[in-house]
């Protein structure tokens, strides 16, 4: 086992660097730029049962060291993801991939997870119960322990692959929700999704986003994410995937020191399409600098399955 390897829910990753859902498409845009097989893996664009255009535009605004988005789960629907996108993904990426799933009802989550669970290349299901940009679903399932428990249990009963539940930071007590997911059989927890925010155009005096509110991510949220990863990782026994503002090898190490087994890189991909490749490249030197021999020894979760 190499010094960068980590084990995420029983599947070995060559390194802990994972490109985050919604910032990496289905991989092939990035595969035009570099060999994306250097990544640990990536989580492809959130998939729902039906096709979705998403929210009205503008969907993007900016903040200090961050990006506010209100995409609203645009995707072609699970049937087309399987028939059109995954074959293209397979041509450029040859490792198990994370299938990110969104939904508006228990039935939809289960339907989409079942479909993707059967896809050979899907290594993990990442159930997004934290999308801040869709009404009547998404985040509402991640706001309360009983709803999070119910979704997790239903998905676990319908599928065979490791299930990661992706949690929202826009809650009063993320630790309780993470514990509810663990109790329901989740194999891991991904956190955090974006933080709710808004911007107003001074000239028009109106919100910049057509959806008014959006989810904030980027370097600005790293300390917030780190704290929540630390809290959750110390409260559950299952692996935690640290997400939020990661943009360097040092950030990856810090996330792992907080308890993350693997680390996702999101918004940074949108500014610097080579950032994941560069983080993987920079990790050995950063480890040497801080006297780290093996990443799998770093996380408090090492050995967790």
């Amino acid at each position: 086992m190499g010094k960068l390897n980590v084990n995420l829910c029983g599947i070995e990753l060559d390194n802990p660097v994972i490109a985050s859902s919604g910032t990496f498409g289905y991989g092939y845009e990035f595969a035009e730029l570099y060999d994306i097989n250097c990544l640990g893996t990536f989580s492809f664009k959130g998939t729902t049962k039906e096709p979705r255009f998403g929210n009205a535009t503008p969907r993007i605004a900016e903040g200090p060291s961050g990006i506010l988005n209100s995409i609203g789960l645009q995707n072609p629907g699970v049937e087309k993801v399987i028939s059109e996108e995954l074959p293209k993904l397979k041509k450029c990426f040859h490792k198990p991939v994370i299938a990110n799933v969104g939904g508006f009802s228990m039935e939809e989550y289960v339907y989409t997870c079942k479909k993707l669970d059967k896809e050979e290349q899907v290594g993990w299901l990442e159930v997004n119960i934290s999308c801040p940009n869709v009404h009547g679903g998404g985040m509402s399932f991640g706001m309360q322990c009983d709803a999070a428990y119910a979704i997790t249990k239903a998905v676990k009963e319908a599928t065979t692959k490791p299930v990661l539940i992706k949690l929202s930071p826009n809650v009063t007590d993320i630790v309780s929700i993470a514990k509810a997911c663990e109790d329901a059989g989740a194999d891991g927890i991904s956190l955090i999704n974006t933080l709710m925010g808004m911007r107003i155009d001074l000239k028009t005096r109106k919100p910049i986003l057509a959806n008014v509110f959006g989810g904030y991510s980027g370097a600005a949220v790293f300390p917030v994410a780190l704290r929540l990863v630390y809290l959750v990782a110390h409260a559950v026994d299952i692996p935690v995937v640290g997400i939020g503002g990661v943009s360097s090898a040092e950030n990856v190490l810090e996330m792992m020191m907080a308890g993350a087994t693997a680390v996702q890189v999101g918004a940074a991909n949108l500014l610097d399409p080579f950032v994941c490749r560069d983080i993987v490249r920079d990790l050995p030197a950063a480890m040497e600098k801080y006297g780290i021999d093996s990443l799998s020894d770093l996380s408090i979760k090492q050995g967790a399955k």
Binding site: L33, T57, N69, I71, L270
Partner: protein, 244 residues
């Protein structure tokens, strides 16, 4: 698409708020007029997408209007400054459909991408007519540059202070074979209604990444959802669905 470091070689005002910048670096990923670049600016999180105005060997020309913090910072840059830029973004205009007499319709800072387009069309032996629309006389730029390429140029101003009074659609010649346009959305809609041939429209939208990853700039078209940054910014007339 390529990521590269470019050096500012020139940065001069053309009007009170419009600037021209020349940048030197590896321009090899540009294949087409109508493509754009995405510039990283110190202290700002998102890159700023700007259309390609001209391309000569290792030199890119851009023309931009100061509208906010990003373009204000750009306007203060001096020769020698280096910038991290993604190049070769977007589809660009399809020149093969132009026929013998293409008409180019540009409004305000929608004018710049038409310059390189006019240059390429004229190189291909086409007779190119250009209508450049501005609000008022002191906003007019690039009239003589288009003439120097050999294009027939008409300038319109909304207030009539220079050229023909009115909008670009009030000054279109009648014998064009095809059209290409770029400008503010109300102008594009007017062009859509006023033109009698097929043509191509270049759109502007708030973008996250600029290369197709984030779905921030999606729009609906007759042929399905498209990303302005990756499947556009140029759409053909027959695929456009106006959302409002």
């Amino acid at each position: 698409m390529k990521q590269g470091v470019f050096t500012v070689r020139e940065n001069i005002p053309l009007t009170d708020s419009v600037y021209r910048m020349k940048l030197e670096g590896d321009t090899s990923s540009f294949t087409n007029a109508g493509q754009f670049l995405n510039i990283r600016i110190d202290g700002l999180y998102l890159r700023r997408p700007i259309s390609l105005c001209d391309l000569e060997d290792r030199i890119i020309t851009i023309i931009y209007k100061v509208v906010g913090k990003g373009t204000e910072d750009l306007s203060k840059m001096t020769p020698g400054k280096t910038l991290d830029i993604l190049t070769g973004l977007g589809n660009g205009y399809d020149l093969s459909l132009s026929g013998s007499h293409p008409l180019l319709l540009g409004g305000g800072v929608g004018v710049p991408p038409l310059y390189y387009l006019a240059k390429k069309l004229i190189e291909d032996g086409k007779r190119v007519s250009v209508v450049l629309g501005f609000n008022t006389q002191n906003e007019v730029f690039y009239e003589k540059e288009f003439r120097a390429l050999g294009a027939d140029v008409i300038v319109t101003t909304v207030d009539g202070s220079y050229g023909k009074k009115g909008f670009v659609t009030d000054a279109m010649p009648h014998d064009y074979t095809y059209f290409y346009t770029c400008g503010p959305e109300p102008m594009l809609k007017a062009v859509y209604r006023s033109t009698v041939t097929e043509g191509q429209f270049s759109f502007e939208k708030r973008m996250g990444c600029g290369f197709g990853a984030c779905m921030g700039c999606s729009c609906k078209t007759i042929t399905g959802y498209k990303r302005i940054c990756k499947d556009g910014p140029v759409l053909k007339k027959e695929e456009i669905l106006w959302e409002n």
